[in-house]
Symmetry: C2
Subunit: 242 residues, 2 copies
DNA sequence: TTTTAACTCCCCAGAAATAGCGAGGGCAGA
DNA sequence: TCTGCCCTCGCTATTTCTGGGGAGTTAAAA
């Protein structure tokens, strides 16, 4: 540990990734990648809905369980920060001001995650969101050099990794098919920006009943239980922009 | 035309991109990139779910205007296809079976877009969606070779290009998001996944009234007009992950 | 120590959303 | 041509949400 290796050969890595045929191969690839870079950990973390998460990486199982158990998903500034950014993020640049965040960081360090980290947000279709994270124990300077030298390669690796994960992930596909009609999108958009049904109907110059039909139709297509749920899904799938 | 150059130096390109300070610089960069690759066109196209678009590239203005005027956004299989995919897409692999799609393709070719194309979907925060497209007149074989040789570089260029576009985009909001309390986040999360207030209260083991207080508090902090609006804002600000 | 903020509980009346039944015209693909 | 999807409109009853009051405890900042 503590040894940051030279950048590995990108071509070989990506070819290796592209030939993966199961989640086990991804796990093996990520472990190999970690060893080649000589960092403490590399983790791919598919962040999702109501608690269910999927990922693979080199974190200690104890830490992964603890993360889930403690609900760190809702505290972790890496998640919060990456969710709002496009470019890779050095952990140092995140907001650690809250006490909960600092306690979380300390807990992470105690579990061998490392004091430095670098996370790449990745977004796929239907609002998929994942993180590709490299973490290590190093000084600020060492880490800066490492990140600078490997940023581009890591972006590419993260991209190909996510591509494979999307291919291999079993349960995610069926959700995709249904998209909303233009009028349904307009209706959902207006509700998402705070209009009541009456206001939205007036804005679209249709009867409130018709608007209701759109909302119900959208709710059905999105598999949502109520309007709020439907709007939430529409937003997180990128169908509606607020 | 017809000449596909060797891959240009990636490092120089990206540095050039990173120093861009305005949309004009992006336009210049993309034109230079086109010339270096020796292809007909390179286009960056920011597509908004609401329908408004922004982009820069080397397409003829006549074609751009026609695209907008004819509402091709809703027909273009490149948009439809990329929206559902994560990896770069060769135009040949898209669904051109509908009559409207074939007419569109012919129209595009007539306007000098090229018979071959390759589009990279890019997604940013808040449901941002953009395409980075390279198009050319070439045989299938020539194009295959070109795409194979340059895919990775183009993915990276697309990434950095989008990063710059996000920085420069005028409509970007700083939004000093007042954060929600843990309990408020829990409440909003449950509503976002379709729970009614009663269900959410039961899940959190608190009275429905207390839950209501959280929701109202969150609504106030988020400047939202109603619960649906508040959930929408919480999601698009990354406070709630659905 | 004082103050602030988070967390918890209760009642009520009016406003809004949901669920159920319907109906007809238009347009594009099979 | 016919099937399916999109767009449009109406009625009623029930359930859920919203907004107006008020009040106590704990824990963390100032």
């Amino acid at each position: 540990m503590g040894y940051l290796a030279q950048a590995p050969q990108l071509d070989g890595l990506i070819e290796h990734l592209e030939s993966a045929e199961g989640l086990g191969d991804l796990q093996a690839a990520i472990t190999g990648l970690r060893d080649q870079y000589g960092v403490n950990h590399i983790v791919y973390h598919w962040v999702n809905a109501a608690g269910d998460q999927y990922g693979c990486g080199t974190y200690d199982q104890v830490w992964v369980d603890r993360y889930l158990e403690k609900g760190y998903l809702r505290i972790d500034p890496v998640i919060q920060g990456c969710y709002q950014r496009f470019h890779p993020v050095d952990w140092k640049r995140l907001d650690w001001s809250s006490k909960a965040a600092r306690a979380f960081l300390q807990d992470a360090i105690d579990h061998g995650v490392g004091n430095q980290g670098f996370s790449i947000p990745i977004r796929g279709p239907n609002g998929q969101f994942a993180l590709f994270t490299v973490s290590h124990n190093a000084t600020d300077e060492e880490w800066e050099d490492f990140a600078e030298a490997n940023r581009r390669d890591l972006i590419l690796v993260a991209h190909y990794f996510n591509q494979k994960a999307l291919e291999l992930e079993p349960g995610r596909k069926p959700e995709t098919a249904q998209s909303l009609s233009p009028r349904e999108i307009e209706a959902m958009t207006l509700l998402a920006i705070g209009y009541s049904r009456a206001q939205a109907a007036e804005t679209l110059a249709i009867s409130e009943h018709t608007l209701r039909v759109y909302v119900e139709s959208a709710r059905f297509k999105l598999g949502a239980l109520n309007t709020t749920h439907a709007v939430a899904r529409a937003i997180s799938r990128g169908l509606v922009v607020v």
